[in-house]
Amino acid sequence: MNKNLTNEEFVNSYLDNELSEIDRLDFENKLLHDSELREEYNFQKDLVEGIKETRRLELKSRLSNIPINTPLYQTVGFKAIAVASISAGIGIGAYYMLSEDDNLQLSDINITQNQIIQTEENDIPLIPEAITPIFKEEPTEEIIMDVIPQEKPKPEDVIVKNTEVKEEAKIVQPNVIQPNVVEVFEEEDISSADIDNENQINNLDDIKENLESTVEIATIKDKRNKFHYKFFENKLYLLGSFNDMPYEIIELNSSSGKSYFLYYNESYFKLKTDQIKPAPLVKIENDSLVNELRIIQSNQK
């Protein structure tokens, strides 16, 4: 240690980690016996702790001032308005249908109801599922069919309404089933088929892991599918309460193609890329595969 250093400088150098190993030990030894040095040390330690605490409070204050936007459709007010709108819509519909001089406006009213009900059912609107024609369960038709028969309209009205609904459905449905898309899925089929058998993945020599998954991921709150997934247009949809707990997607590149796994709540789940309809997530029970995935996961961090 430089003998010319004052206690103040000595402590300052120590707290700033500027001392050599020998000087540091020397300092710590003196600290035990030299009361003046200890007094100086405690004083400067208070300064440093004060600086740290001030910065901590500053950062917390910064965080507190960040506006957190709750999406409109998740607000209680919006849901109340939506429910009120549905009730009003049904009431108006019933009024027109049950009145003597009901006419062409019926179909319009039904379509409006349907749109509101859809928004209410799915917390996140505008998801591909709602516009995918390949799914048999079309919420659009189900809701309309549920509502209309209860109102017991005249037979002529039913014909008019059904026609209107079908026309509307055609407008909404995009041409999603394109030959190109199907080909991509078929390719994925072939690649994923090899590793469908969990044991085959144990040979990791030719597998490159990638935790920074290249697939686009979306989480959707879905009341019907509480722990499901699907792939659609190279995008992975996780259906359920996935915003409440962290999850990880593990992407493996092998000679036979890419395959994906979900890590959630300390369990692993296989994700098949050809799964275009919502399917329940099934936990992988094969211990050796789970261990391999765990190793891959930890290696990638």
Binding site: F43, I51, K52, R55, E58, E212, M245, E248, K301
Partner: protein, 179 residues
């Protein structure tokens, strides 16, 4: 923004990465508390504290991350909230005792120092915070504060520390800081 990008930004003291993380995981972390008998304010505290510690560790390069950031934060929030619930349940049975007294003096000292720091100029506050809390290198500090070189930052830091030192000493007698 990927985790690696976030960590890179934090390592150079880019606070926008902190804002990003806060917004991204706000619902996830606060729901953890709110759904387990916590209030919104408690949820904020339980989320903000580990996030600030995460920032400090990541900025100073003292963080070895073995999981995703979200997993890391979630596990800390979970533990913190469990501890807080345990503390609350203990408080129901135990009355506060004299232990509060022993902390009184150190709290007062901390307030004195806090007031002195806030009485300094912004540049000094920043340079001292970046050095002692964020653990940024003098090169990073020089870059962040627009100094010509590292030596300028070092000199500035030394002067600021001296200023704080004198400020605190002049306001309070030495006995305030004796054990």
């Amino acid at each position: 923004m990927k985790d690696s990008e976030v960590l890179n930004k934090i390592s150079i003291g880019d606070e926008s990465a902190l804002d990003f993380l806060y917004k991204k995981y706000y619902r996830m972390m606060t729901n953890l508390v709110i759904k387990n008998n916590g209030t919104e304010q408690e949820a904020k505290d339980v989320y903000q504290d580990p996030l600030v510690v995460f920032w400090q560790k990541a900025a100073s390069g003292n963080l070895v991350l073995t999981s995703k950031i979200s997993t890391f934060l979630y596990s800390i929030c979970l533990n913190l909230w469990r501890k807080e619930l345990e503390r609350k349940s203990r408080l129901v049975h135990d009355q506060k005792d004299g232990a509060q007294y022993s902390n009184h003096e150190s709290e007062e000292k901390a307030k004195i120092v806090h007031d002195c720091i806030n009485g300094m100029g912004e540049t000094c506050r920043k340079i001292l915070s970046y050095h002692y809390f964020d653990g940024l290198s003098m090169t990073d500090i020089a870059e962040k504060l627009g100094y010509a070189n590292t030596d300028t930052a070092k000199t500035k830091k030394y002067k600021c520390k001296q200023k704080l030192y004198q400020l605190v000493k002049s306001k309070y007698s030495k006995s305030d800081f004796l054990d």
